[in-house]
Symmetry: C3
Subunit: 300 residues, 3 copies
């Protein structure tokens, strides 16, 4: 994976994934040893959409390796305003940086960008498309807390639109996990995704009810149910309430259950859960730094 683009989690073999996670574990164990690994290196940050954690953690990762960043800033303070194409923008900025991190609202934009430049492009989310470093940090968090072998995971919430979930589910097929998908009828996993997962050998089960399955899980991965998916406010509230994770629900869980969430959360996990040993979502967010350090270290 030297001097390559990272566009989709699907391009990563089990070996690729384990290579990044092994390095991330090494870095997390002794970050100081990597503090000067990539001095004189500049990472270009091109965020065409708002982002806090992804952008900051890429910045932190590059700086923790001894390098620096140059930031395009927000779209309204950039040349994009003047009608410049993405292909032109990235061909200019590749002259300023040693690698580019791109978030863009259009699916396929990272792939397109990668075809125009010589420096590595890392996809940090392209609309409804892919966000592979999120998948890597999710896998790292699972491996550190529950292990990736013989895993039973439940994924709950908006399974129809959530790119995070589709990428993670697909990546887990490399490790033979049993996957339970829990959602309201209207937000079920798209048929195409379900088909792909089964083709890849995954054991896939679907549920409408979270209580029915929580006692069997090693990991519960919670995602947001967005208000705008529901025509009716009341219907939204009812559904959101049913899938909310709280201490009552967790009483039925195994003591070692790992609760994850890609964040930001709104109401999907009750604040009281933060105090329990199940809560792993802040650790998961923090894992963005060693995992992105590991990736940058391999790519640069």
């Amino acid at each position: 994976m030297r001097h390559d683009h990272l566009i989709s989690a699907k391009q990563l073999s089990r070996g690729d994934i384990e290579g990044v996670l092994d390095r991330a574990a090494e870095i997390a164990a002794d970050p100081g040893a990597f503090a000067e690994a990539h001095p004189d290196t500049l990472l270009g940050l091109l965020f065409f959409e708002p982002s806090t954690r992804t952008k900051m953690s890429f910045g932190a990762a590059m700086k923790r390796l001894g390098g620096g960043t140059i930031d395009m800033g927000s779209v309204d303070s950039s040349s994009v305003q003047k009608g410049e194409s993405l292909a032109d923008t990235v061909r200019v900025i590749e002259g300023y940086a040693d690698a580019l991190v791109l978030r863009h609202p259009s699916e396929g934009s990272a792939k397109l960008a990668s075809e125009f430049v010589d420096v590595p492009v890392i996809n940090a989310g392209d609309g409804a498309g892919q966000h592979p470093t999120q998948t890597l940090l999710d896998l790292h968090t699972i491996r550190e807390n529950a292990g990736l072998d013989d895993l039973t995971i439940g994924i709950v919430g908006d399974l129809k639109y959530g790119r995070t979930v589709h990428s993670l589910a697909h990546a887990l097929t490399n490790f033979g996990a049993t996957q339970h998908f829990i959602s309201p009828e209207s937000l079920r996993l798209p048929r195409g995704v379900r088909y792909d997962l089964r083709e890849a050998g995954a054991e896939v089960r679907e549920h409408a009810d979270i209580e029915a399955v929580v006692d069997r899980l090693d990991v519960l991965y919670v995602t947001r149910i967005q208000r705008e998916r529901f025509p009716d406010e009341n219907e939204y509230r009812q559904v959101a309430g049913e899938y909310r994770v709280d201490v009552d629900l967790l009483e039925s869980a195994a003591p070692g259950l790992t609760v994850m969430h890609p964040l930001p959360r709104v109401d999907e996990i009750a604040p009281e859960v933060d105090e329990t040993d199940h809560a792993t979502y802040f650790e998961q967010a923090h894992n963005g730094v060693p995992v992105r350090m590991a990736l940058l270290d391999q790519i640069l």
Copy 2:
């Protein structure tokens, strides 16, 4: 003050203050000696409100110590948009940085943030609340120009709403200063603040008229009178004119009078004053760097 939060100037003893100011003086005398004091250190900048000087001088301070920054960016380009709570935001970002600087419109937000994280939190202004590093750089400027012992200071302008003024006045009680407060009737020091100052042993005098007292002062600290405090534009103009500091007024002053202002100014100090030896407000702004370096050096 190692690994502690700095939420309010009130938490600082005379010894704490002198510790920071002594270090700041050392740094100002030989900044190069501190250029590698904190390599591999990242300061998280969380500014939920616009700021130029505070944010830039914190950034400069961290970089002058050999470290780096990661910036949340403006609120509209962040997850806050998606409804994330402040407690969640800071718990995520503490994983990316070694200390956090927080500016937020809500009083008490820095205190709240500090209760959720393990890294040091520095309050860079929380609404009508505190802004302790402004107080420290004000004290440093006074000490370098007039000395903190046997000080006679006049504080003029909006004494009712100005958080800068309340913090500074309180901090000066540690040094036994004589404090003159000069303002229009409608913007007098709140009764509670006056009471607190006297409780702390301060000699407090109030005036409506700046000419009456200017000849007695070592330091004249000028603050902005905001248009929006007055229902009537004409009334505002009249008041603003009365409290404007110009060369005429300064003719009655002692030759060594130090004129300060937290900036930005609008019309409170005439531009002609900039050319006089009284003008110390740009030096005061510049002092933000050594003082914040000193603080970071102690906290990290």
Copy 3:
């Protein structure tokens, strides 16, 4: 040029220009040799208007020299909002940085700023005024691709309002170039500029038609024709179409023709041109880094 301001390309002698370009060539040949040339140096970025390539390439230049940047951010997140004057803003920020880069919508603002501060000020564009580092990187690109001696250049597009063009044309008078100006009647070079160029000894020719002259050129410098210059959309489209550079046009060109553009482009150069050896506009943009490194290296 040590500790001096760079306000206008006109202030640079032929010797000054060659000094910067020689250094830029040295840097481009071995950037690693300069990676620690200016550690402990901070460059203040004050962009009062949107910019991508100028701001990012100044940032990259400073960091490639081992230094760092502090960024004022966008105007709506700064004190400018509160009515602070430019003179006050720069007098504050000079305390945080070792040099300032200023972009501002008002002509003359960089000159004004330079009169208030002691650190070097670099003009990165002041409205309809000057943008001298763009001129330097244009000259560097010409020198590396076509040579500056005995040059025949064609400059096409909006010659009336384009500051880039006026600066470049003036700078080229130092090298005795033959200059062809190609534009629609309504966007011809202003009489004053034409007069100045001839006073400076330039050979100046004007054309309405690009085909008539393209075979004679070493360099074709293309600029944008802005829609807002035309009252009528149809008229704009017709004019823009006539001056569009495409593969058909380039068939009449010399094989070694260098095509340049300050970017961003919209439709002035067809994408198919990107694949030809003529296309030098991305290289031109990339040259912003070594040229700005050379300038900073001399100024700091």
